[in-house]
């Protein structure tokens, strides 16, 4: 390696870079904005996924036992539930506890003193690992002898499942759009810088520079744009996370947002990689297109 050449090349890149600061700012700013949006999106998606999980964790199946179920039947149901890998936990709730809970829930508006006998049946309270399995577990339990009725938030579960699917699909579309937007904007920015230097490029070609030789500084420029923009974005996101996120958590304590939904370092590395990749690909395309003509 000829160090003078490397120095020349680096000098070239830094010169290009520092010459048209306005244009570099544009490209960097665009990358930064795009990656801030992307990072925000990933972060919020992760946070919402946790919210969804904690909401779904609350969905439980109540399996009411028929009043004439024998203790052996009740035991058999308990064993069945304990064996089922889909079931996270199953708890036997005798009718007395059920009444106490009902009284608690209705906050004393039901006058339990008026009850001559407990009108509630015994039940199992079942938690399922994956929400998608709630309907099938419920249907199987319903078929066990000794089970009178199975109740769960059918509607709620269905709605959450639907919402989850729709959100996931929207999420994928939005991510794709963001990537396309970022790519297009950066490619265009670099295409414009290439356009602004079309005379210079033509001259370099006339002097005998190969296309690779001409392309390389632009690619490096794109790479630098991408990396600096991504670094800026990561910095902004870190600041936002340190200042805004706690306030949001505080404002919505009941939403049970996870305080740290993503590994910050992994996300930062990913975003930097995305920035670098966008910069390289966009400049490659932008310069390639121009040099082909």
């Amino acid at each position: 390696m000829d160090w003078g050449k490397l120095k020349f090349f680096l000098g070239e890149v830094t010169r290009n870079f520092s010459r048209n600061t306005g244009m570099q700012m544009t490209a960097i700013g665009t990358v930064a904005i795009t990656i801030v949006l992307l990072g925000m999106f990933l972060f919020v998606r992760a946070a919402l996924a946790d919210v969804g999980a904690s909401l779904l964790a609350k969905i439980e199946i109540s399996a009411y036992l028929s009043p004439d179920a024998t203790p052996a039947q009740i035991h058999a149901i308990g064993r069945f539930l304990a064996q089922d890998p889909r079931v996270e936990s199953a708890q036997f709730i005798p009718k007395r506890q059920g009444l106490a809970e009902l009284r608690e829930r209705t906050k004393g508006t039901i006058d339990t003193a008026l009850l001559t006998e407990n009108p509630l049946p015994d039940k199992y309270r079942i938690k399922v690992r994956a929400t998608e399995q709630v309907p099938s577990v419920a249907a199987e339990v319903r078929r066990l002898t000794g089970v009178a009725n199975v109740v769960y938030g059918q509607q709620v579960v269905q709605r959450l499942l639907q919402l989850g699917a729709v959100l996931r699909r929207i999420g994928i579309v939005v991510i794709a759009i963001f990537f396309a937007v970022a790519g297009i904007i950066i490619a265009n920015t670099i295409r414009l810088t290439v356009f602004a230097r079309r005379r210079e490029i033509a001259i370099m070609q006339l002097v005998g520079a190969t296309n690779t030789y001409i392309r390389l500084p632009f690619i490096c420029e794109g790479l630098l744009d991408g990396c600096i923009g991504a670094a800026l974005a990561v910095g902004l996101l870190a600041v936002a996370r340190a200042t805004l996120w706690p306030r949001l958590l505080e404002a919505l304590p009941w939403a049970q947002l996870t305080a740290t939904p993503l590994d910050a370092r992994v996300l930062a590395a990913e975003l930097l990689a995305v920035g670098a990749a966008i910069g390289i690909v966009a400049s490659w395309i932008a310069v390639g297109r121009h040099l082909r003509t």
Binding site: D2, W3, G4, K5, K7, F8, R15, N16, R19, E200, A202, I203, M204, Q205, L206, V207, G208, A209, T210, N211, Y213
Partner: protein, 236 residues
């Protein structure tokens, strides 16, 4: 060294700039290309370094069939040629020194060689003291001399000059002409398109005359005007 056989050039806009050109230039020759403004001198040179591509005919430069050259081989061709463009074509964001060094840089030259060769050619054209200036900070003649320095820096086998003295004063013109002559004496083939009657008439070298895209005369020791030195024309 250079051979054109039945070469025509029609630009995309329909202008027939060159028409059935036949021309042989031997290694080490010094050739003037003269003719009216817009007669096809620059176009002919452009064909040789493939800025333009001929519409018909065969072009050989230094053993390379330029008219059939693959796109990715063009850069290699141009590195063996030194070209002084009529409109200079300097890189505005590079200093004089960088403009010259760049032409060596792209050939993959060693930095050591660049550091030795670049100052030498700048000195030859009398621009050592301006080497750190940008083209926009130069006078017209200084820009032209930078372009000449760049064309010389790679010690090209063939030197193509398009109106190399249009912005130079007579003293500079004489110097540059002497420089071209010296380079030619070292074996470099030199082709100069020019309107400078004084230069042509003083040198008495081969003169190829173009008229309306065709070669009309080709004299071994010619004048700018057919058979006449300028003294006869102007002060006769």
């Amino acid at each position: 060294m250079i051979a054109l056989r039945g070469v025509s050039l029609v630009y995309p806009n329909g202008v027939r700039a060159l028409d059935d050109i036949n021309l042989e230039i031997a290694k080490g020759e010094f050739v003037f290309l003269v003719g009216h403004s817009g007669t096809g001198k620059s176009s002919l040179l452009r064909l040789l370094y493939r800025e333009a591509r001929s519409t018909a005919g065969e072009i050989v430069v230094d053993g390379i069939r330029v008219d059939r050259l693959r796109r990715n081989r063009i850069a290699a061709l141009r590195r063996h040629l030194g070209v002084v463009f009529q409109d200079f074509k300097l890189l505005v964001d590079k200093t004089v020194w960088e403009n010259v060094a760049f032409a060596m840089q792209v050939t993959g030259a060693h930095t050591r060689d660049i550091m030795r060769q670049a100052p030498r050619v700048l000195d030859l054209v009398g621009l050592s003291h301006k080497s750190r200036m940008y083209p926009t900070e130069l006078s017209g003649g200084e820009q032209q001399r930078t372009a000449i320095a760049r064309a010389l820096v790679n010690n090209p086998k063939i030197l193509l000059c398009d109106e190399p003295t249009g912005n130079l004063d007579p003293a500079n013109t004489t110097e540059i002409t002497a420089l071209l002559q010296r380079i030619n004496l070292k074996g470099t083939t030199v082709v100069v398109a020019t309107h400078n009657q004084a230069v042509v008439d003083r040198m008495r070298r081969r003169v190829v005359r173009l008229d309306d895209g065709r070669i009309t005369t080709d004299e071994e020791r010619g004048y700018y005007y057919l058979g006449l030195g300028q003294t006869q024309v102007l002060s006769g």
